[in-house]
């Protein structure tokens, strides 16, 4: 009898799992944060100053829960509509690689930190929510608020922006990107993202 129950429950579990609601956005952020912090703490590549393996490990964890297409569209702004589907695809890839290059440096800068979670305010029919977390810094510095903008998709809740101390990581690129597009077109923006060539800004108008 017990055996039958066990088999039954095993058979039924996946059915129930797919039938239930996707993981709540705040639970998802919490689980991911814990996993990422765990990787940062335990991985010994980082101690040797090697970021690449750690970045790839974190990427595997986190990437399925980011809406890269929406992030890129938000960073590019209005001009996104003028890009061809093929250009959009390349923009997504190039923007993502640029983010990884930029923020993998940050991993070594921000390690042993505690993360607090603020209670989530959300009503059942919300299509997007703001999950608020607080990074408690070592050494008496003021805590830093890190908010994740999460949107509901067919594949569950996915982040489309990270807001650090009120500064949106994604939309903050908009002015820069628009300027690049005005000067060199969408192709120019893709190229500058891919090559990471930094035009020297003399500051003169």
């Amino acid at each position: 009898m017990k055996k039958i129950l066990l088999i039954l429950s095993l058979l039924l579990t996946p059915v129930f799992a797919t039938a239930t609601e996707p993981m709540a956005p705040d639970e998802l952020v919490r689980a991911l944060t814990d996993e990422v912090l765990e990787v940062l703490r335990t991985d010994d590549h980082l101690a040797q100053g090697e970021t690449e393996p750690v970045v790839r490990a974190i990427e595997k964890l986190v990437l399925p829960h980011f809406n890269l297409r929406r992030m890129t569209a938000l960073a590019v702004g209005r001009d996104w509509r003028d890009a061809t589907p093929e250009q959009q695809e390349r923009l997504v890839d190039a923007f993502y690689e640029m983010l990884v290059r930029t923020y993998s440096n940050a991993l070594t800068e921000y390690r042993d930190q505690r993360v607090d979670f603020r209670p989530l305010r959300m009503s059942p029919d919300d299509r997007s929510v703001r999950v608020q977390t607080l990074i408690i810094q070592t050494g008496g510095a003021q805590p830093v608020a890190v908010d994740y903008m999460m949107g509901k998709t067919e594949g569950g809740w996915k982040a489309f922006d990270v807001v650090i101390a009120g500064v949106s990581l994604v939309t903050n690129y908009r002015s820069t990107f628009q300027r690049e597009i005005r000067a060199n077109g969408i192709e120019g923006l893709i190229k500058s993202l891919e090559t990471n060539e930094i035009p020297v800004d003399t500051g003169t108008p």
Binding site: R70, T102, E109, A165, V167, S175, I198, G203, P205
Partner: protein, 284 residues
């Protein structure tokens, strides 16, 4: 004499105007930044000063002074700053936060040994960030255009008017002896700059540093003014939505907010109308 001075002032004004207009003409207009031409020039100047003097000193400070000492220094400066934060919280009518700041200063100045240790945070008294610019904002003063000040860096017209009082308050609450005060100010600035080194390393080098810093600064400033809950504007417009045109994620919220604001205005208007009607009645 006055005529000469006057014409010179006019000339300078004209030169500024020329710089501003030519500066603006060459790029897309940003509604937050009508002074972009001047701002870019001043930003480049500040960046030069930073590269030549401030940043190297801050880097030296970061390597030479041990973390423990830097934390202590940060706590002392933070404790002094908490006084002004508390005053501003009270000026903004936030009694609970203001009293909490007073408690923080009292605890850290005594048990925390002149502010060397931030035991108030450990005890669960949250650290706030307020200044007179934010108080003016709460009192209803608009932000005005974005301005890059020489040496001080990014600001807005509103925060610039608040700046003399803010810096007076920091200096005043610290020490009366002028050379000591100047030294402390210099050390405080170096300490603040050193605190930004880490963020700078994490940020990398964006292609248009000016635009990047301006937008980040404005977003952070608005976030502070609204105590961590800035109004969500159309940052998150859905650019992928082509069929139904631009659609705002927070449309419903925005409409609700607008309706609420209107209601509040209507109420205020009703009250003032009543009031004036009453005065009118008394006159008769």
């Amino acid at each position: 004499m006055t005529g000469k001075r006057g014409s010179r002032a006019a000339l300078i004004a004209l030169a500024c105007a020329v710089v501003m207009t030519t500066g603006c003409a060459s790029r897309p207009h940003n509604p937050d930044d009508p002074l972009e031409g001047y701002n870019r020039a001043m930003f480049a100047f500040n960046d030069g000063v930073d590269r030549a003097v401030v940043k190297p000193v801050a880097q030296a400070y970061e390597t030479a002074v041990p973390q423990l000492v830097r934390t202590g220094m940060g706590n002392v400066f933070g404790n002094i700053r908490d006084v002004w934060t508390g005053v501003n919280n009270l000026l903004q009518g936030k009694l609970e936060e203001g009293m909490s700041d007073v408690m923080r200063v009292a605890m850290n100045s005594t048990f925390g040994i002149f502010g060397l240790f931030d035991i108030a945070s450990e005890a669960g008294l949250e650290k706030h960030n307020e200044d007179f610019g934010q108080t003016l904002a709460v009192w209803g003063v608009g932000e005005g255009p974005f301005i890059v000040l020489p040496f001080f860096g990014p600001s807005t017209l509103r925060d610039t008017t608040a700046l003399p009082l803010d810096s007076f308050a920091y200096g005043r609450t610290a020490i009366d002896h002028v050379p000591t005060r100047n030294t402390v100010t210099a050390v405080r600035l170096v300490h603040l700059r050193a605190g930004l080194l880490r963020a700078e390393r994490a940020m990398g080098e964006p292609s248009d540093k000016y635009a990047f810093v301006r937008d980040a600064w404005l977003q952070n400033r608005r976030y502070r003014v609204h105590d961590g809950n800035p109004p969500v504007d159309d940052l998150y417009e859905d650019f992928d939505e082509e069929v139904s045109g631009p659609r705002h994620l927070f449309d419903a919220d925005a409409v609700a907010d607008a309706a609420l604001t209107k209601l509040e205005f209507a109420e205020v208007a009703a009250v003032t109308n009543d009031h004036s009607a009453m005065i009118e009645g008394m006159r008769r």
